[in-house]
Amino acid sequence: MDKDQSTELLFDLSQPGRRAARFPAIDVPTTPVDSVFGADDLAEESPPLPELAEIDVVRHFTNLSTRNMSVDTNFYPLGSCTMKYNPKRNERLASLPQFADLHPYQPDATHQGMLRLLFDLEAMIGEISGLDAVCLQPAAGAHGELTALLVAASYFRKSGQARTKVLIPDSAHGTNPSSAHLAGFDCVQVASDQRGLVDMNDLRAKIDGDVAVFMITNPNTIGLFDHQIVEIASLIHEAGGLMYLDGANMNAILGQTRPGDFGIDLMHFNPHKTFSGPHGGGGPGAGPIAVRGMLEPFLPTPRIAERDGQWRLDFDRPDSIGRVRSFFGNTGVLVRAYCYIRTHGAEGLKSVSTNAVLNANYLLSLVKDFLPVPHGDRCMHEFVASASGLHKSRGVRTMDIAKRLLDRGYHAPTVYFPLVVPEAMMIEPTETESKETLEQFADVLREIIEEPAELLQQAPHTLGISRPDEVRAARKPVLRWQAST
């Protein structure tokens, strides 16, 4: 690829003395900096920052942004990530200075609007989850998992129970065992059965008095609703454990059923999947958690409390696990979630999930004849196809199809996850795509599968960057810019 202003680093574009702005000479008395700080506190040389004109910076980032593939430019059927279109209205509302310019150290009396919005959002998420109390502060879904598991650990500690195990199905997101491990639990894997649901015999064999929490994703990562959930919950509850729901797939069941009603005791939401939080980008994010009443005393501080129409932050929470995030989390994401939920209302949220499931099933029906879907003809909001047969017959792997889709203007689906499906391709269209988009995507996918293996194995062909050497990128990553010598 030719080097241009989007691929050259700002450091490489730097020219000594180049500036975006020049200030007039100082016309007030000055104090030498070394009379304010001790000599030991001063750096010996300036940090190596790039020196650039404004236009250098604007061209760099504008060109870079045109190389991005996003929901705003392309269909993005990235399974498990729910890359739905986020209404611009929510962006605009969250950017209002009355929200965006608040300072977290303002006295409570001066940001009553924000406090009330967050308080009401807690109630709405509580209603959607069918659970009693909500904490909005975790900064991402996985952080929500960790927070909820710390809450569970405190709950058991307070009641004098030394429970050490967390049970996790083998189709789970990798964050589940990571969070359980960080929260001090041992992870025990539960097998999936032939249908892709929890293997009840394996579950029964692994339940004992040491089980603290069973973490389940339902609908699961294969896109199936585990109808055994009530039975699973009663087995776990009989053994004295708690049921955790990874809420990654809430987009499939909004308003259709409530986790609290099918036996869940604690869960997290991913607003960037379900409630129009910004997708990806590394944050800032949010991962609210909802819990049953008996777990509420252990939720992080501060809690929002209301009395006589006044809202305040309550820090007097003796059993709380303490702070999990500075201030009150990433409120900008939470404002978007509030706007999304209020805009749709109860009926609207129900049609979100109805349409998400309808779209996924329609796409499944278009795809399954040329790309097998091992776990059946019906799904929830996403389905997992497998290129295993193609790999055996023609040496074409899921990765090759995914790379070729990029050539054709589609973001690749999630590949090689969940691990229980070989050569997995996890497709989630979301509710915001039209019938025409789904049909065009299926047509292109069919065409790609009929293309010569060699063409696919070397894809992408039309993009600025060809296929990276992933092994070298992992083994010899270049993480820091260094001046060329």
């Binding site: 295993s388 499906v421 070989p422 992992a474 083994r475």
Partner: protein, 129 residues
């Protein structure tokens, strides 16, 4: 190694027994399923393993998996060449790509592992799944 004489674990390790020692690696099928392998972590020599214990970690561009001991014993040698260059596994998983050697206390119970025919039948099922 003669693949037809090896024994196999359900978790895709192979084992070859000779004079109180076992050599252990992973199968070509496992390597193909993992695709491009990025890192291999092997244990310290001297560590004692029970059958089924995780003895190392293998990471590909797709996934991270544990390696499980198909037999019990004490680790007497590890193949650091595989750690330095995991692409050896893609080229030659049964000879140059061996991973650990174990001193066993009792002979391998062949009935607890799969022979070549049984392993081949198993992976047919896995791949077509």
């Amino acid at each position: 190694m003669d693949e037809s004489k090896l024994l196999y674990a359900e978790s895709h390790e192979w084992v070859s027994e000779s004079e109180g020692q076992c050599t252990i690696g992973i199968t070509r099928f496992a390597v193909e399923q993992l695709t491009d392998i990025v890192y291999v972590e092997l244990p310290e020599v001297g560590k004692t393993l029970s059958k089924g214990d995780p003895f190392g970690v293998i990471e590909s561009v797709k996934a991270v998996s544990d390696l499980y001991a198909p037999v019990a014993g004490e680790i007497i040698e590890t193949n650091t060449a595989v750690v330095d260059d995991p692409s050896i596994l893609t080229e030659d998983p049964y000879d140059k790509g061996w991973m650990i050697k174990i001193k066993i206390v009792e002979p391998v119970d062949a009935s607890s592992l799969l022979d070549k025919a049984a392993y081949d039948a198993k992976i047919q099922g896995d791949a077509g799944h």
